[in-house]
Structures are given as C-alpha cells and as structure tokens.
C-alpha cells in the first residue's frame, strides 16, 4: 500500500535536491570546520555561505544567525538566554496559551526559577487580542514570545503589530516561527522581530538542524559550553551536512514560494469545501484567512480522533489529531481548548496538512476515505445515537 502523507506540519519529506547537496558533507568533505587545513576550510566556507543564504532570505546579517539542532533548541536558547541576560531589568515574560511546548515548558521552567509569566489567551479564531497583550505589559516586562504560525490550527498571528508594540515599550520580541519559515514570506526587519526560531524539517530539509536569529545588540547567554563555535554561543562541532541541507531547503522554498502556496492552498480549500459538503456535524477550527497555506483542522463531532487516525492509517493515510489519546497526555490539545472547544469536540479533531508533494488524486482519496470512516465510527458512537434521537424528538 502506498503511503499518502498529509502530515506536513509534523514534518516534511526531505527534498531530493537537498539530499544531493548534503551528501558530499557526509562523505568526502568531512573536514572539521575549525581545522586550519584546506579540508577544514572548505567545511568552514560552506557553513558561512549557508549562513549568508539564510540571512539573505530573512533579511538580516549573517552574524545574526546561529545554527542549532532545531526549533526546540532555538526556542529554549532564545527565551532562557534573553531572560537570564535581562534579569536586572525585569523578570516578566508574556507569551500565549497556544504556544508549542518548546515555549510553554520553557516558560514554566522560568516561573519555577522566579520569573513571572503571563499567558495571554486567543480569540475563537486562534488569534491573540492585541489589546490584551498591551494590558499585560508591566514595567518589568523584558520579553514577549508569541508564535508566528500555530502548529495545530495554522493560525498566523499579527507579528508586525506585536513587534511594534514590543518596540514601543522597549521589550524584546521573540517568535517561534518554526511552522512559518519556508511557508510564508518573512522579513525580520519589516516585521519588527528581534529573535526567531526556525527548523529545517518543516520545509523539506533534514531533521536535527535549525537556526536562531537574534538581532545584533540583544544579549543572550551562551547555551552550550565548550569550544568557540557559533560566535562562542554554541559549542560543538557544527552539523555541516545539516547546515548545508537547511540552507538548500530554504533556498528552494523561497525560489517558488508563490507557485507552491497557490497549489497547496487550492488543494486545502478543495478538501475543506468537500468535507463541508459531504460530512455533516463538523467544525472547522482556526481562521480561514490568516492561516498557513496547507493547514486544515476539522473536528468531526461524536467520534474520537485516535480511532479516526487508526482507520486512516489502515488506508495508508498519515494525518494527526488533537485528541488526548494521541497527544500522549490526558487532556486534548491545549490549543483546541484555548479556542474554546469543549473536550468532546476537541477529541474528534483531525489535522490534515498538505504539502508540495500532494496531488488532487490523493486529496480525493482522503475525502472518500473520511466519508466512509466518519460514517462507520458514528454508527458505533453512543454520542451520535443520542444526538440523532434528540434531533428526532
């Protein structure tokens, strides 16, 4: 059975061109970038060329880019590093309730260490309220960290406005842009971003490599002690092949962003329209305008997400859900609860995230499969039975 992959917000298939670009640095070009001889200098050069490519795309300086192991490390580094560095100025941090655990758990850790954190809510569409953000600001606020695009419901936050508010109050603004980079245009200067996390495997690059942008002049602590790599911020011999792959993937993403996005958006909208038409009692989560091109998140009432995923898996389809059973925790997704979904509707959510390799035939197969599976699961759902009985009264 073919694998039909609709989980591109979880990770993406590495582009073959990216793999091709990486291979020399996994084989003959094995030099340590810190070494002085030619083999080492070649590795150094490719890292710096890659850094320049990344900087160019984000519209910043190469020395404002630090390579990391991925999104979680970038978020941890930025938030803790900035918090510790500015502790003399204040101890208050503002974030949102719908952040990725890499941000939420880091903030919780800082709370244990004596920092104060305000978690602002989101409206029903998953977007923060700028007035609530302004009201949360205190004299001792040192950092605002709000994600660019949500990983579950795809919502895009008003980053430029948030950056402006932070700037006006002389507060540092970090954004977890892991879902956004490679999928939408990003200009850190224009968007007033001081610090940003990105991860290569979300845009057809390899896993285990990411980057952190920190604007020149903003202090943050060294995050791995040891050698002097990454301008003495992150010790450890660089992941040369990963860095090359990241830069190549980013370059490819932005070389035909519009074309890809048009195709992806069209498929996503077609999927949502068809589901709306063919399956009753659903709820579309998130905002339909301010949203990542490939993301969709739909709650199918009266059924539970894990059984939906298992049935899709039997048909070769990969997707994800915000149900408790699939989150590994006991509650359904904190994001779905934050947009006000009742538990039982959050349990029945399905995230389908479309990517550049998906075809209309695959989307049609997904739709047909869902129509069949949802009806089968509803037939065995006591919640559906009860609902229909009440409807018929």
């Amino acid at each position: 059975m073919n694998t039909i992959y609709f989980d591109n917000n979880a990770t993406t298939k590495t582009d073959e061109e990216v793999v091709k670009a990486m291979i020399p640095y996994l084989s003959e070009n094995y030099g340590n970038p810190s070494s002085i001889y030619k083999l080492g200098r070649e590795s150094r050069k490719i890292i710096e060329d890659s850094r320049e490519k990344v900087a160019q795309i984000l519209n910043c300086e190469p020395n404002e880019i630090y390579f990391t192991s991925g999104g979680s490390e970038s978020d941890n580094t930025a938030i803790k590093g900035i918090a510790y560095s500015y502790l003399k100025k204040g101890n208050h941090i503002i974030t949102s309730k719908i952040e990725h655990p890499a941000v939420l758990e880091t903030c919780k850790q800082l709370e244990k260490e004596g920092f104060e954190v305000t978690y602002i809510g989101v409206k029903e569409n998953g977007i923060i309220d700028l007035d609530e953000l302004k009201e949360a600001i205190k004299p001792q606020t040192i950092l605002i960290t709000i994600m660019y695009a949500n990983n579950e419901i795809g919502t895009l936050q008003p980053i430029k406005e948030i950056g402006k508010i932070a700037k006006d109050h002389n507060i540092i603004f970090h954004t977890d842009a892991v879902q956004a980079v490679g999928n939408i245009q990003i200009d850190v200067k224009n968007l007033n971003i001081d610090s940003l996390s990105l991860s290569a495997h979300k845009f057809y690059g390899p896993k285990g490599i990411g980057a952190l942008y920190v604007k020149k002049g903003i202090l943050f602590n060294k995050f791995i002690n040891g050698g002097h790599q990454e301008r003495n911020k992150r010790a450890g011999t660089e992941n040369v092949a990963g860095i090359v792959g990241l830069a190549k993937a980013l370059e490819l993403s932005y070389s035909n962003l519009e074309e890809h996005n048009n195709k992806i958006e069209k498929l996503r909208d077609y999927y949502i329209d068809q589901i709306k038409e063919r399956i009753p009692y659903i709820k579309i989560n998130g905002d339909m305008e301010k949203r990542l091109p490939g993301n969709s998140n739909i709650s199918f009432r009266f059924i539970e997400g894990e059984s939906l995923l298992l049935n899709l898996d039997l048909k070769g389809i990969c997707a994800s859900s915000g149900s408790a059973c699939t989150s590994g925790s006991l509650d359904p997704s904190h994001v779905l609860l934050a947009i006000g979904l009742p538990h039982e509707i959050a349990h029945g959510s399905l995230r389908v995230s479309i990517g550049k390799y998906n075809t209309k035939e695959e989307v049609d197969y997904l739709i047909e499969s869902l129509v069949e599976i949802v009806s089968k699961l509803r037939e065995m759902s006591p919640l559906y039975e009860k609902f229909i009985e009440e409807e018929n009264k």
């Binding site: 009266f302 539970e304 059984s307 039997l314 408790a324 059973c325 349990h347 065995m380 759902s381």
Partner: protein
C-alpha cells in the same frame, strides 16, 4: 505506541456493533470529557446472555476492548460474565500499551452495569444486593481524573 495484531483486528472489524431493541439490560459508562463512552446492550434468557451489542465513542483500544468483551460474555451465564476481569480482556487482546489500560476497565464496568440494569428491571433483588452482586462502584478513572 504499538497495538497488538488482535487489537488492530478488533478495531478494524469490531464484532457485535449496534444496539438491541428491547434489551434486557443496558450499561453505559465513561465520559465524553475523557474521550471514552461505552454502551453495552445484553439480551438475557434463562440466566444466559444470548445476545450482546455495543456502541463506543473512543480510541482504538476502547473499541477493541468493547468488541472482544462482547465475544467473551456471549453465551455465558450472568455469574460467569460478572467474573470477567479487565485483565482477562487485556490478555485476550495480546496486551495493551500501559496508557490504554484504563480502556479495558471501562469494558468490565459496562458489562457489570448492563447486568445490574437487568437485575433492576427484573425486580427480584434490592439495590444493595445488586450493588454487591455486580460489584458496582463509582467510576473513578485516574487517567481522566473523573
């Protein structure tokens, strides 16, 4: 997390799905908040469970445990059915991932509730006697905190 072949078989082709019109007893347990509800219908003749059907809202493990437990009590006397333990259900499924064990408790509870419902309708036993015989207890699920 990996499910056993038997679990996959049961959530792929669940046995005895549906409801019994004029059931002798109906047991409903679970809570939509924690994402699991099980409804068990039994038909009893001469103290024997001659038919059993279920409806479940829940994950793959919940569906599989419902399905296999209906097979395990069909044709059994009420006393035999009451002896069915969640560990028996788990064993016959070839095991469940630890986080899913509470689903098997739900199946046992649903059977006990359905039999208790039968005794209530029959009207021969007092509520206290039914509670004791069926080992009814308040549903307490540590996993969902209810």
């Amino acid at each position: 997390m990996e499910y056993s072949k038997k679990v996959v078989d049961h959530y792929t082709n669940p046995r005895n799905v549906g409801k019994i019109e004029k059931a002798s007893g109906i047991g409903k347990v679970g809570n939509p908040v924690c994402g699991d509800i099980m409804k068990m219908f039994i038909k009893v003749e001469n103290n024997i469970i001659v038919d059993v059907k279920f409806k479940t809202f829940g994950c793959g493990a919940a569906i599989a445990t419902s399905s296999i437990s209906t097979e395990m009590i069909k044709g059994k006397t009420l006393e035999e059915a009451l002896k069915l333990k969640n560990t028996d259900v788990v064993d016959s499924l070839g095991g469940l991932p630890p986080v899913k064990l509470h689903c098997s408790v739900l199946a046992e509870e649903a059977i006990h509730e359905a039999i208790a419902d039968y005794y209530r309708k029959e009207g021969k036993l007092t509520e206290q006697e039914i509670k004791e015989k069926c080992g009814l207890k308040e549903h307490h699920c540590e996993s969902c905190g209810i």
